[in-house]
Amino acid sequence: MSKYLEMIRIRFLMMLAYRTNYYSGILIYSINIGAYYFLWTAIYGGKESIQGLDAAQMVTYVAISWMARAFYFNNIDREIAMEIREGKVAVELIRPYNYLGMKTMQAFGEGVFRLFFFSMPGMVIVSFIFPLELPLDWQAWCFFAISIFFSFVINTEINLLTGISAFFLFNNDGLMRAKRVIIDLFSGLLLPISFYPVWAQEIMEYLPFQAISYIPSMIFTKGFQEAEITDAILFQLFWSILLIIPICAMWAVAKRKMIIQGG
């Protein structure tokens, strides 16, 4: 276990090595939150509430979605694809650890770094600028913490799947880009799931994407009530476990088919 903790530490150091990335990230996220704030205030106009969310909840929803995204979002699919394409995966395979486990830990290190140095200070700044409704009871914060942990797990599992696909496809850039758009759209980051037409909501019930952003944001904004919260977290747990199966299957096949590029 200590090697995985050490890997989290290394990732921290690597994030610090690239500070410029980190500053530009803060800027981009603030612009996004600002843009969505103005968009949604315009849409609400004088209306009390739309689809069960009032304007203040909506603003909180937007802010918390983006801040949670900073935590669960990572680029390990891109990293895995690059390591496969350049043959660096050979070096990873001569080490006594599980390659995918190590990648997940790196992603977690990155996530924790961003949670503390990006999301939290970002949230404080945003709460001064925009009228946010932060939950007052500690249960909501606890459920939210559990929920974004699962967001991270599910998003990372999907990233592992797209990353491993580089073993089978010569170039999986298109797939990774499609995945990114699908997650932004279907996870409820850009638009809460309850705003979609009913038939689309029914389809999304059977997909894992809303577990990434919609569920934690709804818990945080109190859009979900007691029973709904436990159901939602069970939904996340279910997908976290289910997605392990295709990952293991793909990895097993990939290892057998492995070709190391470039000698």
Binding site: S2, K3, E6, M7, I10, L13, M14, A17, Y18, G87, K88, A90, V91, L93, I94, R95, P96, Y97, N98, K255, R256, M258, I259, I260, G262, G263
Partner: protein, 344 residues
């Protein structure tokens, strides 16, 4: 005790070839042509503990593929591999603890962080105790002279500096078996010497078994008593380096620099009846005589000198490099080899 046992090992790769033209490109969308390349073709060998073996061959001969199968990275198509009494691919995580690997063309250190951070992570990964680490690594760091590099990020190191750090990283857990895939590629003479000295030392001290691939024959001459030569996926020679040189590199070369241009036919005529082969040298008016029999040498020299004015003359042993080049140029099987060398 055998550290490596390989029997009828084979690796095949499927490679796609694309059809020509637009029409061909469309057809490729539905069905693709492929052919099977045999990168490693039924090779067998064993390596004993404490041996240093040179694994040589031209580019694309299958050296790296073999190493990747021996280290558990690639799955063999067929055949048996047993390294440190384990099947490398099946028990990968347990197995890789017992080996060290250096890929000359790939870094295994983390690019953006200081060298010592990489070492620290590897120490945790291999579960090396503080005591073992300090005892072993202090010595390695001192010998390879990398102390001043430890706090620099890898991207700021020169190739020679990086290579010494790579070697150190591969030895953190003091493995009994070391695979080195072109460890001296692109290094200057001093660094090469340092690395060779160091490898000899750990081999003597810990009885570390070393399997080394390289294109620099001097590495092999300095380190390995035994060589395995590979061509087109097959082993064409497996035995001692001395034997290779003794049997096949007996002859000498005499380099003549003539004052004026000389015809090959004239030289052949002069040395008629001797076992000589004439080759044109690199410079103008330079001819090289390859002689199989030492006793004929004085007579050949005197005949040539009588007939022609000579500016310069030198006598050389046939170098290992030349022997190996000859083998690759002319033959690819053991039986052919002997014939080739007899011709010289």
């Amino acid at each position: 005790m055998n550290v490596i046992e390989v029997e009828n090992l084979r690796k095949e790769f499927k490679s796609y070839s694309s059809r020509s033209g637009l029409k061909g490109a469309f057809r490729d969308l539905f069905t693709r042509n492929y052919k099977i390349n045999r990168a490693v073709n039924d090779i067998s060998f064993t390596v004993k503990q404490g041996e240093m073996v040179g694994y040589i061959g031209e580019n694309g001969a299958g050296k790296s593929t073999t190493i990747k199968m021996l280290t558990g990275i690639l799955t063999p198509t067929s055949g048996k591999v047993l390294v440190n009494n384990m099947n490398p691919h099946k028990e990968r995580e347990k197995f890789v603890r017992t080996i060290g690997v250096v890929f000359g063309q790939r870094s295994q250190l983390w690019w953006d962080i200081a060298v010592q951070e990489s070492f620290r992570l590897l120490k945790k990964v291999y579960k090396v105790s503080d005591q073992d680490y300090n005892e072993h690594m202090d010595h390695v760091i001192k010998t390879l002279d990398i102390g001043p590099l430890l706090d620099k990020p890898v991207r700021k190191l020169s190739l020679g500096q990086r290579m010494r750090c790579e070697l150190t990283a591969a030895l953190i857990h003091n493995p009994p078996l070391l695979f080195l895939d072109e460890p001296t590629i692109g290094l200057d003479v001093l660094v090469k010497l340092k690395i060779r000295e160091f490898l000899k030392e750990i081999n003597a001290k810990y009885k570390t078994t070393i399997l080394l691939t390289t294109h620099d024959i001097a590495d092999i001459e300095a380190l390995c008593e035994r060589v395995i030569m590979l061509d087109e996926g097959k082993i064409i020679y497996d035995g001692s380096l001395d034997h290779l040189r003794g049997n096949w590199g007996k002859g000498k070369q005499i380099e003549f620099q003539f004052a004026s241009s000389v015809d090959e036919s004239l030289l052949l005529q002069l040395t008629n009846g001797f076992h000589v082969q004439w080759m044109k040298g690199d410079k103008s008016n330079v001819w090289i005589a390859q002689i199989a029999n030492h006793e004929e040498m004085p007579e050949i020299i005197s005949r040539v000198m009588k007939a022609q004015t000579i500016v310069d003359l030198s006598i050389k042993e046939i170098s290992t490099e030349e022997i190996i080049r000859n083998i690759y140029e002319k033959g690819d099987a053991n039986s052919n080899l002997e014939k080739v060398i007899m011709n010289v």
